[in-house]
């Protein structure tokens, strides 16, 4: 992280942008499906507006310009001046894609924006906004704003701009400012006489005359006179009314704009005249007609402005009506401002007698404090990972300690053993809490997919609807990040290969628009991601033909439908007969499978011809810990993931049968499941594990099929810290990772699915060279 706070905020800005883009897209999709309302449109407007605001602060002009055009259309929609029809929503969706490109370009993480695409969308947005493309293309900001105020009286707006310095070129006809500007620019003034009569509104908006006087005093020496002749007697005084007139003489060569700037905030809430001192220039009268609000207060005694001005134009030496204050120009900023007349604060103070009825919103708030957004802090990931590592060590240390205590022969009911149990619970709590810090919803990945689907649909000319669910499912941050690529690839595949085009679909009696479902859910301690399409399903004869042609399987291999489907995961397999723009990127499903396996996950496919295919990814929730069953096989200590184990039993010889003479199966609840001799399959021993004294664990594979693992003994259930075997050694078939046990020894963690497949391969399917 940078030391420059501005750069840090910039980082925040881009983080916020990606969140805003996510919301933006989600809201636009809600509008598309008809789930949106006016608040959805407002939310879209706000998201674009916030992007624009931040971009402006960082001087990202391209982004500001694009966001502005986008925002202008959203403003039309939310004001109801424009209907939010299908065409508009489709355009907005594409505009949100380009907005994302602009943001990525500004961040320096993306390619430069496709200028033609961006300009094209700007034109489209403008057509939707104005009914035609804005003719003043170079200055879309101005063009859009004019439209913005189409329904408000223009004179008010312009007057409100206040300081002429900011907008010198704007013409303000009724105020005669241009002439003043030329005058003040040409003649060095001796100073200014300012006559200032606040309206009640000025006080009501919490402005303070003393502060204005202080600001004037910053510009040069001032003398201030107060005319309190309009002040009623105390019993007739309305504390919220305004009764005072101030005359300030400011000496020195001060630009009129600087003086006017002081009154920027209050210009519309007072009568104000600013006259050059000692000059022959005509008095410039800048007071404005009273606001409609003021008209509602007939009690205010009318003061003749003309008379007031005449008085103000009189020689300075003339005795003023009531010289309450005559401050001798305090220049130092620290000096107190000229004190206002004692009554003035009263006028500004809230009126205690008649407090306005509290707004319903205010009254409603006490009951809804729970709605406050959760407080968050941002922490460097490094720190969290360090914590996780230390907690991992703590878990191991705790396990070691427990083992030592056991070995020392202390009774299980001893204080030490009991205390140790509490410690174990606490350790587990700590671990869960730490893991929760790293957990993130998969939303961040899912949100990127609608755009992908749109683009692939455009490229392939197919009509596709993406339906997502389970976006809030949480999983470890690393897992979330590494999910994006495989999901992207599988969605591409689903649309490109899975879905038919509209004509084919209609011919098959399906809706013309294909549906791709992307879902995330928790299942038995793992996260499952499903990508399903309602397309034509896997063409098994073709897949088989390709596999044979590539030498991946023998020509006469006997394969189940499932096994044929799984051939697409073999390295070097690509079903695309022609390499298309979409899928032909040199990445096959084997790469997807490898990247999922690297995360300790598995991928499987099920397909029904004519109905579609479903890819299922199953991943561990965390890459750091695992609930495992510690077992031993041929003197090796192994850990089986608890989530896979259904139950364990002592095998009876009469339950074991051999299929084809050598494939062992075991009878389990009226069904036969394949028996995998772990010690033998893993290569720890050559001869078969003796059944006597052995233990069988019934496990369930990811695909839902069951198998029985034969081991020598079960040593107990334990939470283990996962250490990658690939990082420290290399990939071993049938093993997903390693761990360090309480006694300090290394144990391998079994990859159940790979083990079951290896067991099958070892015994009865020599002709199938299927990779695990």
């Amino acid at each position: 992280m940078s030391d420059d706070p501005f750069e840090t905020i910039k980082v925040t800005f881009f983080q916020e942008c990606s969140e805003l883009l996510g919301d933006l897209e989600a809201n636009l999709l809600a509008l598309e499906t008809g789930d949106g309302d006016i608040e959805t449109i407002n939310a879209v407007f706000r998201a674009v507006h916030s992007v624009k605001g931040g971009a402006g602060a960082f001087g990202l002009e391209d982004l500001v310009r694009f966001a502005h055009v986008f925002e202008t259309l959203m403003d039309e929609l939310r004001s109801g001046r424009k209907d939010c029809d299908d065409v508009t929503i489709k355009t907005l969706l594409r505009a949100s894609d380009v907005l994302a490109d602009h943001i990525a370009a500004a961040q320096g993480t993306g390619a430069p924006v496709d200028a033609a695409r961006s300009a094209g969308l700007v034109a489209e947005l403008e057509v939707l906004t104005h009914g035609q493309a804005a003719s003043v293309a170079p200055a879309p900001v101005v063009a859009a704003d004019e439209d913005d105020f189409g329904f408000t009286p223009l004179t008010l707006d312009l007057a409100d701009f206040g300081a002429p310095a900011g907008l010198p070129s704007l013409d303000l006809p009724p105020l005669g400012l241009p002439s003043l500007e030329t005058a003040s620019a040409a003649v060095a003034t001796a100073g200014w006489r300012i006559v200032f009569r606040p309206h009640p509104r000025l006080y009501a908006s919490a402005n303070d005359v003393s502060l204005l006087l202080r600001e004037l005093a910053r510009l040069g020496p001032t003398s201030v006179e107060l005319d309190d002749s309009g002040l009623p007697s105390l019993d007739a005084l309305d504390a919220e009314d305004a009764h005072l007139i101030w005359t300030i003489e400011l000496s020195g060569d001060v630009a009129e704009a600087a003086v006017r700037d002081v009154f920027d905030f209050v210009e519309m809430d007072c009568d104000l005249s600013i006259t050059a001192l000692g000059g022959a220039q005509p008095a410039v009268e800048a007071s404005l007609p009273p606001l409609p609000v003021l008209d509602a207060r007939p009690a205010e005694p009318e003061i003749d402005i003309a008379a007031l001005l005449a008085k103000a134009a009189a020689p300075v030496e003339a005795p003023a009506p009531a010289p309450v204050v005559a401050a001798p120009a305090p220049v130092a900023p620290a000096a107190p401002p000229p004190a206002p007349a004692p009554v003035a604060p009263v006028a500004a103070a809230p009126k205690p007698v008649a407090p306005a009825a509290p707004a319903p919103t205010l009254a409603a708030t006490p009951s809804a404090p729970a709605a406050v957004a959760p407080v968050t802090i941002r922490v460097d990931l490094d720190r969290v990972d360090r914590l996780i590592n230390v907690v991992g060590e703590l878990v191991i240390q705790q396990a070691m300690l427990a083992q030592r205590v056991m070995e020392s022969g202390l009774a299980r009911s001893s204080d030490i053993a009991l205390g140790l149990e509490d410690l174990e619970l606490l350790t587990r709590d700590i671990q869960d809490s730490v893991m929760a810090i790293r957990a993130q919803p998969v939303k961040s990945v899912f949100q990127r997919m609608p755009r992908l689907v749109r683009e692939v649909a455009d490229m392939t000319g197919k009509r596709v609807r993406l339906v997502t669910s389970g976006e809030d499912t949480e999983v470890d941050k690393t897992v979330v990040e590494r999910l994006a690529e495989p999901i992207t690839h599988m969605l591409r595949n689903a649309i490109d290969h899975g879905l038919e085009n509209a004509e084919e679909r209609e011919a098959a009696g399906k809706p013309a628009e294909g549906t791709v479902r992307l879902a995330a859910l928790h299942r038995s301690g793992r996260i499952v991601i499903e990508i399903a399409d309602d397309g034509k399903g896997i063409n098994r004869p073709r897949v088989r033909g390709i596999a044979v042609a590539r030498g991946l399987i023998a020509e006469d291999a006997v394969l189940t439908d499932d096994e044929v489907d799984n051939l697409i995961f073999l390295p070097g397999f690509s079903t695309a007969e022609t390499v298309t723009d979409v899928s032909g990127r040199g990445v096959g499903m084997d790469v997807v499978k490898r990247s999922i396996q690297a995360l300790g996950g598995r991928i499987s496919i099920s397909s029904v011809p004519g109905k579609g295919s479903t890819f299922t990814l199953s991943l561990p929730l965390t890459l750091a810990v695992l609930d495992g069953m510690v077992v031993s096989a041929a003197d090796q200590t192994l850990v089986a993931p608890l989530s896979a184990i259904v139950e364990s039993l002592t095998p009876r010889v009469e339950d074991i049968h051999y299929v084809g003479g050598h494939d062992a199966v075991i009878r389990f609840r009226e069904e036969f499941v394949p028996l995998v001799d772990v010690g033998r399959v893993m290569g720890f021993r050559d001869d078969a594990t003796p059944l006597a004294g052995g233990v069988v664990m019934i496990v369930e594979t990811e695909a839902g099929s069951r198998a029985a693992l034969l081991v020598d003994a079960i040593n107990g259930q334990r939470q283990v810290v996962i250490k990658s075997l690939e990082t420290h050694y290399r990939h071993v078939d049938g093993v997903s990772a390693a761990t360090i046990l309480g006694d300090g020894s290394v144990a391998l963690i079994l990859d159940i699915d790979a083990l079951v497949i290896a067991g099958r391969r070892k015994s009865n399917r020599p002709e199938l060279k299927m990779a695990s």
Partner: protein, 121 residues
């Protein structure tokens, strides 16, 4: 005494920028994320000055200022609204709602602190 400023803005970027500029100028800053939250913080913290955005979820800046002015304790608390140069109509509405002044976005820290100083005793 250090003055407390409440900033109400739904954009984290904008909140951070306000925080940075105002803290550097020696103010204590408390934050809220929308109008509803703003009114809660207002009552809890009694800030001397309030700076609020207009476009916010749940309750926008206009509603927030109106709610604030309806509270006798905050009738005379200065409120600056964050607005864009072109938003004259919004400025006008903010004024009607009781805003004291405005800060034009994008602002630089000097301009921001200047605007705050102009409305703060």
């Amino acid at each position: 005494m250090t003055k407390t400023i409440l900033t109400v803005d739904d954009s984290r970027t904008m909140r951070d920028m306000l925080m940075l500029a105002l803290k550097d100028a020696g103010y204590r800053v408390v934050q809220a994320e929308d109008g509803v939250h703003g009114l809660e913080v207002l009552r809890a913290e009694n800030p001397d000055i309030v700076i609020t955005d207009i476009n916010m979820p749940r309750m926008d800046g206009f509603g927030f200022i109106e709610g604030m002015r309806a509270d006798p304790n905050h009738k005379a608390t200065p409120v600056l609204v964050l607005t864009t140069e072109s938003d004259a109509a919004k400025k006008q509405r903010a004024r009607e709602a009781g805003a004291t002044g405005w800060i034009v976005k994008p602002f630089d820290p000097a301009k921001l602190v200047d605007a705050v100083r102009r409305v703060a005793a």
